[in-house]
């Protein structure tokens, strides 16, 4: 009997919570700022975040200057960043052969153990040849360098066929796979190489800062269900905006 009573009481309490849930707790800007100020952060942690961002993205000079001014130690040798950035830049400029040579100088294992990356670099080379109108060379290149890769792997073959389709269309703008000619494709390939180099250096390929910001947005979404409070809506400014009541 007493168990039943406890159970009923529990139900009653739940009912109270439910009625409260419909009206969320309101937190004013003043209260919110007070709460935020109570959170202690270490300067060193923030410096590390900034350094991590500069290093991962490859801003060598900025990283060097930041090191001098803040005394923060970079997590990897800045010289390797220079090499890595040279590779990235070469791809972004469409000099894929040059990029390949640089990667091989940095670490010959990367392309030897990453068939997908190697294929994408070769594919980018083909795209550049097509872009320059060097059709015969492009065909020969596709035949000699890319066709064997396609034989080894079904997925590669499909991508190869898509790329070769660029040659079929007189007017590139009508081609269904024209996005391959886009500069964004170069950037995609460049990013892939960058990530592979970072991994080979045992460095994480993504900076921490974006993860923190994503966490912030997620946390705000979660909190939205329970409270009304000042949001950060513009990540680039970090400005607190009053809750709309």
């Amino acid at each position: 009997m007493s168990l039943f009573r406890i159970f009923v009481n529990q139900l009653e309490e739940d009912d109270e919570d439910m009625s409260q849930a419909t009206s969320k707790k309101v937190i004013t800007r003043e209260e919110w700022e007070k709460k935020l100020n109570a959170v202690k952060l270490r300067k060193e942690d923030m410096n590390t975040l900034v350094m991590n961002f500069l290093v991962t993205e490859g801003y060598v000079e900025a990283a060097e200057k930041f090191q001098r001014e803040s005394g923060t130690k970079p997590e990897i040798d800045l010289a390797t960043i220079t090499d890595r950035m040279a590779v990235k830049k070469a791809v972004q400029n469409g000099n894929v052969e040059d990029a390949i040579e640089k990667v091989n100088d940095l670490n010959p294992e990367i392309l030897d153990t990453n068939p997908e990356l190697f294929f994408h670099l070769q594919q980018q080379r083909l795209i550049e040849l097509i872009r320059q109108g060097r059709t015969e060379e492009a065909l020969e290149f596709a035949q000699e360098e890319l066709a064997p890769r396609g034989e080894e792997n079904q997925a590669f073959l499909e991508e190869l066929e898509k790329t070769v389709a660029l040659l079929v269309f007189e007017d590139a703008s009508t081609c269904p796979v024209k996005e391959l000619l886009d500069i964004s494709h170069r950037l995609k390939t460049a990013s892939e190489v960058n990530a592979a180099i970072l991994t080979s250096q045992s460095h994480e390929k993504d900076p921490k800062l974006p993860s923190l910001l994503k966490m912030l947005i997620w946390a705000q979404n979660q909190l939205d269900e329970k409270a009304v409070y000042p949001h950060i809506n513009d990540l680039s400014t970090g400005q607190l905006e009053d809750p709309s009541v």
Partner: protein, 670 residues
Amino acid sequence: MPTTTTSAASSSSSTASASGNNSNRQADVFSRLASSDPEVKLKALREVKNQIIGNRTKKLSFLKLGAVPAIASALADADDSEKCNNILVQSAAALGSFACGFEAGVQAVLDAGVFPRLLRLLTNPDEKVVDAGARSLRMIFQSNQAPKYDFLQEKNMEFLFSLLNSENENVSGLGASIIAHACGTSVEQRVLCEAGVLEKLVILLDGSLSQREACLESLATVLKNNPEAVSDFVGLESGRHLNSVTELTKDRYPRTRLLSCLCLVVIYNTSPSYFVNMGTKSGLITTLLELLNDPGQSGDDAALGLSCLIAGKEDLQKLAYEANAIKNIVDILKTDSELQTKRLQGLFLSLAELCSKLEDCRCSFVSLQVLDLLINALRHKDADVKAAACICLRNASRSVKNLSAGRFNSDHVMLPLVQLLHDPSSSVQVAVLGALSNIVLDFSSPKSSFIEFGGIKQLIELSKSMDPDARCSALRALRNLMFLADNKRKELFISDVNAQGFACLISDPEPPVQEQALALLRNLVDGCISSIEFVFDEDGLILDTVGRQLRKGPQAHMAIQGMYVLTNVASGTELHKEAVMQQLFPQATGSENFMLKFLQSDESQLRSATVWTIINLISPSSPGAYDRHVKLRSAGIIPQLKNMVNDACLDVKIRIKTVLGQSMSFGDNY
């Protein structure tokens, strides 16, 4: 896209030079490799290196043209002075690339005799040279063709430890790689442990990604099947490192997760007592199951790792079953048609292990419409895949429920199985025989597609194989095929076999083969009286052979089958019974009667079989029973039976009661 005549003219000329260009360029690079001008040589080396990295086709074509010896010369000719550093780096890198994942390349590099030169690069003052040397050596050591590393030589041990102690990541990684791939025997494991290799390796666990991975691989090699080594490892800093390895099974990189799992599998298989915690066991299984979905080599290795882990362990098989392993694996097999052979083998072996003891697993597996999957695997070109699929089928068909429902007896399944009996690989033969041994026990339909496909002839052929496992397995399959068989089926066998050949099998050098041959014979002479005639072919050659084998004092397993043969023969006519007596009491006396020995055996089945023979020999309905009884009594056999009235085995006790009852009817009173 330009298609005008002008570009056509230029493109045709460029095509002409382009097609000739390639082979010209390749031939040209060789002359430049041999150039005395270091600048020219360097450029040629870089060119070859950049062409072959990542490109297996180019590696092959350069290899055929003799690039490796040419590059090896360039390396050998360069001295250790600073100005040659670039040449050292580029040639080492090129050789390393040839050796990377390419067995023919490794072979060529070793054949070129450049291995010692590469080793010397490790002591070069220039860091880049050291890196290049260490990398290429590591590639070589990942191959099975790597030179044997003699860990027992002190000099080699010192060198190995100097590598492990190095600050350079590539060099310490090389040290770990050498251990991972060259350490084979327990003596080597012990020598390494005593020299303190475990303490060195665990430092690498806290290092960079490649150091961690190299460490995990080498740990697995040093600890494998060596309880002492495992105990040393777990003892280091009170189990801290075992915890580290367990933590690494949750690492972000799949290869790290895989290698740490494989390390734990090795430790578990060697010393399971360190895994008291259920959570670790299920965690390990779940991680391996997740890794099965990894598209790269990690997935391949995970499949084999899983089969290794659960092999023979019912508790782990149950955990895996509860973690939905069967459905997951079958899904992978069904959705991905282009799986690597190693992964296919691993997946089928895992399924085989899951079905080995647990009926729930077998039923679950069969219910997932897997026959087509199995049939495709049976037709695969790789022997390991075919064998794994057969073992899987063998274990699944242990399910009496599914077997008797005829799930394995369709023509669809039977045809590829019979075809595999012709397979050149003996491991495939043994595996398919295992599967067939079970499947032929399906009595659900009167027709046997196996026999219709000419299976019996093949089994007879295989019973004459050079490989004793194949002979044994073929006979087992025949034995099962002839179990409770009608005369028609027995005829199909007997008509293709001669007594001489069969007698050879009964006296085969391998005892397991003898046992199966006798068991087959037992089934052949079981049933109606006419089937007994087979043992009398060619002047009773087969019966004589059986008798001779029994008199040799064989192991119990063989003796049991032999006695049941005699039992069945003795169930026949007067002539048959007398023939059995001839075998039991041959002219040349002096040796102790083997029946007495058998009656005193620890094996209850042997005692039982012997008593049965006696029952049939003196069954009162036959005319010569009385005389045979006299003979048995005077040979001390009936008195022996009287001592056994309280035999521990109920079956034996009951049979003895029958004999003594028969004995009394001959006027024997006590």
